[in-house]
Symmetry: C2
Subunit: 387 residues, 2 copies
């Protein structure tokens, strides 16, 4: 496998863009990434676009080819990939593989979603496309229901408290406040969190990521090719993709997602590092309790201590294991297909040393994107040139 | 690139399965392909599933992981790919690449669509997800409109007649009659075709493929690995994927699809053969006139003579260039995401010498899958072990 670099990044703001067509969001991000990489468009040999529910929500598919055409890219293979909320991470991995396996020397990965123009009930129905609707869907479970159950189990087993989980919310909301791309950064108090409406007990409003529009894009190039990028190339040390149980009843333990554990294990092995070598993580905090569970599944926090670490400030940007300095899904937003690509965007900014919430001496970063009820997962590890 | 074989094939019938969930169709085809290959499920290292509009029509996404879970496959990367009507061909190509580039030794490609349970107007709206809806969609064009215009231009330029195009319909309908998987095989007369309602002048009812449900699946293995398949392995000689213009106005000529021409050219080069070496073709006859244009774009029929060749019987199963011995989309049916995988299924049956409409001495076969208004295309070339 050839070594691959990320040389260009681009993103729209995440938030409400209900006045814009989905492909224009993707094109804006793509243009920014191409300009950032200073790559000749003719060099792009493959396009992978991550998207989850453009069909039901916007009536527009074939987005990969449509976006490539609008970007003036060559007539190369253009593929939309889907794995629910992990669609963006899957797009990144396939762009990486296209270069690593020698199919081309440069590729574009794009992630995009447009959700806020649809009525709320249609968005909820679309999000439930990520469930096994023969078993879990008909049970009346939604995603807040799943993560509410996970929280209850975590609380019972490890003594996790509302106040500890609120530390995740406060941290990510505050991080989002400094991130110009974020949808819902703010300073928030424990009282405000406690007084917010229940979505699915124990999950309250601020425990849930918002509905978002947005796009992110990345230019990847073979490490042995120089494209005169103005930016320091960032190394891709690992890119893993796994599958977990499709039905909730298929998970032996709701306090852990097997797909995350497996993807992290594969990524560490490929990168030749362990959890303690990671300087920061952008992970899939679709709900506050998801950050707690993900951090334990990734091995960066001891099992059962995810919420304790957040409460102790150890996952803050200046803590020993910074998590979601971008604000994460909770504050940056969650335009589903864009999220996984946006996480790499944030990681690259960190490794360039130019993130608005810069982690000190960030040399190795990890990203984690989880789809459905844990049925799809990607974990990527990126490193500074000297890492 | 390692050499790759198709060792197992499976398919549901194409037609009306409105009483069945989409994933059960995919699982039926997958089980059949796994049994046919006699492969150990634990050997499957990647799953690619082609699907176009499951989100809007059935409310079920994450189909790749869901189907893999239901098939009892290992927790390997599972990815849905989408490129409108070329989704199945794209799934096959990615399963091929996963093995050819050494990521795994065996992979499953599945294609599936469930359409007939939805009301007709929802199906039409879903199919239009394949258009650029900012430009072409708002013009009022549907796919029959596009191919109606193409027919008019072909008729004006080459003198193509209704009677010649009807020969395509008669051939494919008759071929479908012998194919147990086909939805709408029948003996049909020119009079019946002429008296059928107009869909979009000059396209009449029997010029249009039906709305279909169905699934097809393939097991691919590295040629250097023996899995004790009961069947003769079929060689993959080439698998090409290209992009064309996303907007209809972007095509310089509606009598040709650039993505088909480019994919065919790349496939011939990769296989080291020319059009005259091909013994039969399964191509994308979503409309009768599409078969005419595709056959010319693939170089297997001289430019402008596609309809003439059909009328002269040269594209019949016993002709010099058999086209769509399966019945094609017109008679076998067009469960969109399944079509490209189903074409390979048909080609493998031919190369095994066991097709119900067997082409004599079939040693090399080609398949062609076209998406949207020509925005995505795959062309694959398969060969008998001795080819």
């Amino acid at each position: 496998m050839r070594k691959v670099h990320v040389t260009g990044i681009g993103s729209t703001t995440f938030g409400q863009h209900s006045d814009r067509r989905i492909e224009t969001l993707a094109v804006e991000a793509g243009e920014a990434a191409l300009a950032d990489a200073a790559v000749d468009r003719a060099e792009i040999g493959a396009v992978y676009l991550g998207n989850f529910v453009s069909g039901p929500l916007t009536g527009q598919e074939v987005l990969a080819g449509l976006v490539a055409d609008n970007l003036g890219l060559p007539d190369v293979p253009c593929t939309k990939v889907e794995g629910a909320c992990a669609s963006g991470g899957i797009a990144f991995r396939h762009a990486y593989l296209a270069i690593a396996t020698g199919q081309c020397d440069a590729a574009l990965a794009v992630g995009v979603e447009s959700m806020t123009q649809a009525p709320g009930e249609r968005v909820t129905a679309a999000l439930n496309c990520a469930m096994d609707n023969r078993s879990d869907g008909v049970s009346g479970l939604t995603f807040p229901g799943l993560f509410g159950m996970a929280w209850r189990l975590h609380a019972k087993r490890y003594g996790t408290t509302r106040a500890q989980v609120s530390a995740v919310v406060r941290k990510n909301k505050a991080n989002g406040l400094s991130n110009p791309l974020a949808q819902m950064g703010r300073v928030i108090s424990d009282d405000e969190i406690n007084q917010s409406p229940f979505v699915c007990d124990p999950l309250q409003l601020f425990d849930c990521c918002p509905v978002s529009d947005g796009a992110a894009a990345l230019v990847l190039v073979a490490a042995d090719r120089s494209y005169g990028s103005a930016e320091i190339p960032i190394k891709i040390l690992a890119s893993a993709q796994t599958r977990g149980a499709a039905r909730i009843a298929g998970h032996p333990d709701l306090c852990s997602f097997g797909a995350t554990v497996a993807a992290a294990s594969q990524a560490y092995e490929a990168a030749g590092i362990g959890p303690s070598d990671v300087n920061f993580v952008e992970l899939h905090d679709c709900f506050s309790i998801a950050e707690v569970i993900d951090s334990e599944d990734l091995g960066i926090v001891p099992r059962g201590e995810g919420a304790v670490w957040a409460a102790e400030g150890r996952t803050a940007t200046d803590g020993d294991m910074p998590i979601n300095p971008s604000g994460g899904l909770l504050a940056k937003g969650h335009p589903v297909g864009a999220t996984g690509v946006g996480q790499i965007y944030e990681a690259v900014l960190q490794l360039r040393g130019r993130h608005p919430n810069q982690v000190r001496d960030a040399a190795i970063g990890m990203t984690h994107n989880l789809g459905g009820t844990g049925v799809a997962c990607t974990v990527s590890i990126l490193g500074r040139a000297d890492a």
